[in-house]
């Protein structure tokens, strides 16, 4: 297949996926703001901040150009249990690629993955995870990667909750994104997850366009192949957008300090500090996973999404701690 034919097929495939999947962003629509939030002080505080930010001349006023809100993704906009969904993608991808790699049957860490022994895979440590991530995320063009991820998210299902990953998003947070945008806020995702992974579904899932997604990245390389320019994804880390990397990523991509930040783990601590510890009206929010029945309950001891230091700092910093169990009437969209 010529590069041009391949590009055409990718474009057509992306277009048809967009039609099929362009449903989830509409979850966020509603007439009442924050309808899935319980009435009470948590919801009131969010609404009070946003309403004050619109009143020119008042102390809570925020100029439209400064209305920048940043959201973590894993555990803040969608579920992150039992592991980050991007790892499920990587594992599914290894399984899908296996027929072209017969040698994997006898080579770790692939052997464990293909045998369904995820504990055995996990025991091999960070190096094995990095190898699997690179194997599944690099070696294709950026356009091809978009198709691979969009394809996966339109079919793959969560092993425990038995639903598509892009439906395991938090309805109250979709409403919050929508409510902020209706009031002139730019909503950005600032996540430790892969920037191009998230871009493949962020617009239709959250209403956040690609240029407002900040995340971790690998290196890409520009080449002109048979007269066709291509960007190839290389198996080399470029930037880790987590912890102290989040303010760095915010400054690099947005170039100004946000006024609103929402996170759920210690990986968001520095983003919350950078956003809120400055002059003027500012809002910090932590989603606290307290609902073992409807989702998962975890904080200080959790290896994924550990929330410890940020929870300690929240009262003095004035960050709103959202109690998922008590504050959210609904968790996932129907």
């Amino acid at each position: 297949m010529s590069p041009i034919t391949r590009r055409r097929m990718i474009a057509m495939s992306l277009a048809s996926l967009a039609v099929v999947q362009g449903v989830t962003a509409t979850f966020a629509q509603s007439d009442t703001p924050l309808a899935s939030w319980q009435k009470g002080p948590t919801r009131d505080r969010i609404i009070a901040f946003v309403e004050a930010s619109l009143k020119e001349g008042e102390p809570g006023y925020i100029a439209p150009a400064d209305r920048i809100a940043v959201f973590d993704n894993d555990g803040t906009l969608w579920c992150e249990k039992p592991v980050y969904f991007q790892l499920f993608f990587a594992l599914d991808r290894i399984r899908a690629m296996a027929p072209d790699h017969p040698e994997w049957k006898d080579t770790e860490p692939y052997k464990s993955i293909l045998a369904g022994d995820l504990e055995g895979f996990a025991k091999q440590g960070e190096h094995a995870v990095l190898e699997v991530v690179m194997q599944s995320h690099a070696g294709m063009t950026v356009d091809q990667f978009q198709v691979i991820v969009a394809d996966w998210i339109s079919t793959a299902k969560h092993p425990e909750l038995k639903r598509r990953y892009d439906t395991l998003i938090y309805k109250p947070m979709l409403e919050l994104l929508s409510y902020l945008r209706m009031n002139g806020y730019q909503t950005w995702i600032v996540s430790g997850g892969g920037i191009e992974f998230m871009r493949a579904f962020a617009e239709r899932t959250y209403g956040v366009p690609p240029q407002q997604v900040v995340g971790s990245s690998i290196v890409t390389e520009f080449n002109v192949v048979e007269g066709v320019p291509e960007l190839i994804r290389l198996p080399k880390l470029d930037f880790i957008d987590d912890q102290a990397g989040k303010p760095v990523g915010i400054n690099k991509f947005i170039g100004k300090r946000p006024v609103f930040a929402a996170g759920n783990s210690d990986g968001d601590l520095q983003m919350l500090q950078w956003t809120t510890m400055a002059d003027g009206p500012r809002f910090g929010m932590i989603v606290h996973h307290t609902d073992a029945e409807r989702e998962y309950a975890y904080d200080r001891e959790s290896p994924v999404g550990r929330l410890d230091k940020a929870l300690d700092e929240a009262p003095a910093a004035g960050w709103l701690v959202v109690d998922m169990k008590d504050d959210w009437a609904t968790i996932f969209p129907k």
Copy 2:
């Protein structure tokens, strides 16, 4: 001075600069689109592309979300002669810092700079330039750097043209930016220049907000100092947004392929290729510096802003080559 007092002073200083300098962006306003362009095929071709892009159902139509236009800065939006203006900034900054560095009087490359011997400085090669750039661009917070650049651009003057640098911008290009925005295009700067250098004036000069500026960068580091979060600029290169780096920067920051690109040198070749060599309506433009009387005339042999390969590729690629002398009725704003 405590970090909080310092931050307050920086905020106040930035606010007052914004008031004084908030004049240049208004240069771009006019009722007739592209009023400073000569009537004729060049101007017609731009207008025909943009008008066709608004007509839903027609072959030239571009969906609003895809209306992304990228512009080089040096030589495309503002003058780049006799050298990139950012180098003038670096040299002015070295002179301003000299009283705190008595040792520079006897140390190269500072000795030559302080003696006004720029030829002597230039002879010391790339390493000396890099040292001067790092010395002048690193070692402060990102907020402090914004103030330093904004201060400089509101006072410094071009040595030959005797005007403030932010008035040495091309009126026809300001009108083009404006015209594209009026028609629903996002206008982005994608430049080899420093991202935070340009962000200090891009909004008031070009109407391009910080989050739509892509450029070269140095590493920043997040620290909390005496309870105050700060991002410090380190003397270490992060990313060079030039040549093959431009499509990489576009993909990293914008996450989708633009439909319109304007440049003026071989540094823009790959950006033009990436933008235009794909399906659908696309526009590539090269500003050709042909006006020695009103600005500068240069192309294939110029060490700064060399235009050679891109000029050769333009006809086959269908890129519009704008002849500054013949196509622009006015060059700089009054």
